[in-house]
Symmetry: C2
Subunit: 315 residues, 2 copies
């Protein structure tokens, strides 16, 4: 199969950018892959990992002649990037991104968009708690959704070209309105991250000896929150700065519900607690039957982790 794009330019080469580079090469989706990033150190890391064909600190250089340009930097850097690359974007090119918020991205990118360039915002719902160029892997997008939020008047041929690119990397593609994306992601992703960061922060403030016990006994629930709260700080800062309205709306609902729950605990209202705890199981079942999760216990974690201090079994 011949490559679908002549030149793919990735602006930013963290977990998502490096995974796109590896997947695009594996599936022969671009003849040339150009990588641009702001920091020389990151660029050298990408080069050492052999992620592309062209490496540059000049984003405008990278997009020259590219028929697919994907912004893979934190959303807060988009405006600066657009200022740099806009004059170099080629007519006929598709410009896309992988940011976790979409309404803000449309607002920031659109004013800089040259005529003849098709902007199709995107968001692959994939990731791990690791970041940087070495965190990427070609399989990251397999079985994951990629949400595209094109304008109503998007060129359908360009939209299909970009959709096919994501499908070839293993994703399922779904198109929706940018505003709707931001509301759905606020509750599925942004609030869970905010809450996880918050609880880990509460622990970080505990007295030293209690904290060390919390770490020791973290397997009882807490550690799952720490995984989420280990994600890239700059990326998440930008998410909360740029999806403020939807996050505050959903956080408001969450806090209202938590007040009711707090009162049920204070009043010792057993039936109310049991009712909620029963109702939530149905959501879990829906997620498993939607193929979004394994039913294996503990996320399929191995049942026998190595103990911190192995002791001889004695009885």
């Amino acid at each position: 199969m011949s490559a679908s794009f002549r030149k793919l330019a990735l602006i930013g080469i963290g977990l998502i950018g490096s995974s796109i580079a590896l997947a695009a090469r594996r599936h022969n989706l671009a003849e040339t892959i150009a990588i641009a990033t702001r920091k020389a150190e990151t660029l050298e890391e990408a080069r050492a990992l052999d992620l592309g064909d062209i490496y540059t600190l000049d984003a405008a250089e990278a997009v020259k002649g590219a028929d697919l340009v994907i912004l893979c930097a934190p959303v807060g850097a988009y405006e600066q990037i657009m200022r740099t690359i806009a004059p170099a974007l080629e007519p006929g090119a598709i410009l896309s991104d992988v940011g976790s918020v979409k309404k803000h991205v449309v607002k920031v990118v659109t004013p800089y968009l040259p005529a003849g360039v098709t902007f199709i915002p995107g968001h692959p719902l994939a990731g791990t708690e690791h970041s940087g160029p070495s965190a990427g892997f070609a399989e990251l997008f397999i079985g994951r959704w990629c949400v595209l939020t094109p304008a109503a008047d998007v060129d359908p041929i360009q939209l299909e070209k970009l959709s096919a690119f994501w499908r070839a990397m293993g994703s399922q593609v779904e198109a929706m309105d940018a505003e709707h994306h931001d509301m759905v992601l606020a509750i599925t992703s942004h609030i869970p991250h905010l809450v996880a960061y918050n609880i880990v922060g509460t622990v970080a403030d505990l007295e030293a000896d209690t904290k060390s016990e919390v770490i020791k006994f973290s397997a009882s629930g807490f550690r799952d929150f720490t995984r989420i709260a280990a994600s890239d700080p700059v990326m998440w800062r930008d998410v909360f700065l740029t999806n403020r309205e939807a996050v505050l709306e959903m956080l408001g609902r969450f806090l209202e519900d938590l007040s009711v729950l707090q009162r049920a605990v204070r009043n010792g209202d057993g039936p109310a607690l049991e009712a909620l705890f029963t109702r939530t199981r149905a959501i879990r079942r829906s997620i498993i039957s939607a193929g979004q999760e394994t039913a294996a216990p503990d996320f399929g974690r191995p049942p026998q982790p190595a103990p911190a201090k192995p002791e001889e079994g004695a009885a």
Copy 2:
């Protein structure tokens, strides 16, 4: 090696009880295993799974002649169980439990304790989101902590006997004060569960079409909360009814911190957000270096789950 106990009586046979039965048999820790439970249906399930040697609906019958009795029922049932079994407990026996709260357990059990019986409350920090006798497996306790909260004047020989029992099943044993246990577990386990139940409840209340999208796109963070929120509702109801003070104390801290975070989002305070999100990574690293978690991305989830609706890659 000869069995350490003549007769082990398990009162309640859910995830933890059945795992103890399987592990005790595998490691030859008891000559006879007696299983008592309140529901005939559960008892028949335990029998079909061949979990023990004696099956009875009469807890008093099960504890007769037992030198180790472990309460494995929800904490809310302890008082009723103690009323039933107290007259049948044998002098010299160890009575223990696996409940997630300890101060309340001491308060409820102690008044019924016959002379000559050593009560050593216990809490294995192990579990999955599944419940019932068929959820158990012999490896559940390997590499996991078991916290014991004996009274200050406990017989050290009995304490060592029970500790050795848990070590033989693969656990690391730690003794601490019941009140301290409840505070540490409030933050490592009870608050994470409360918050997870709450956010899943918030989603359950969304309009139907948004809810189905939340389920579809749950891999972006939300689904990890649903695992925790799928745990046994009755057990968790009892946790919040019986560890109210510590839970409300820790929930108060959590909510204070969340108000600060909410304000940072509202004010668009990037530096404050980034500072918190950076600080929380250190806690994650501590947990990994304490051997309580794998550093593999995504809890070691397989990177290529089957897509819900497989599509042909096309480009």
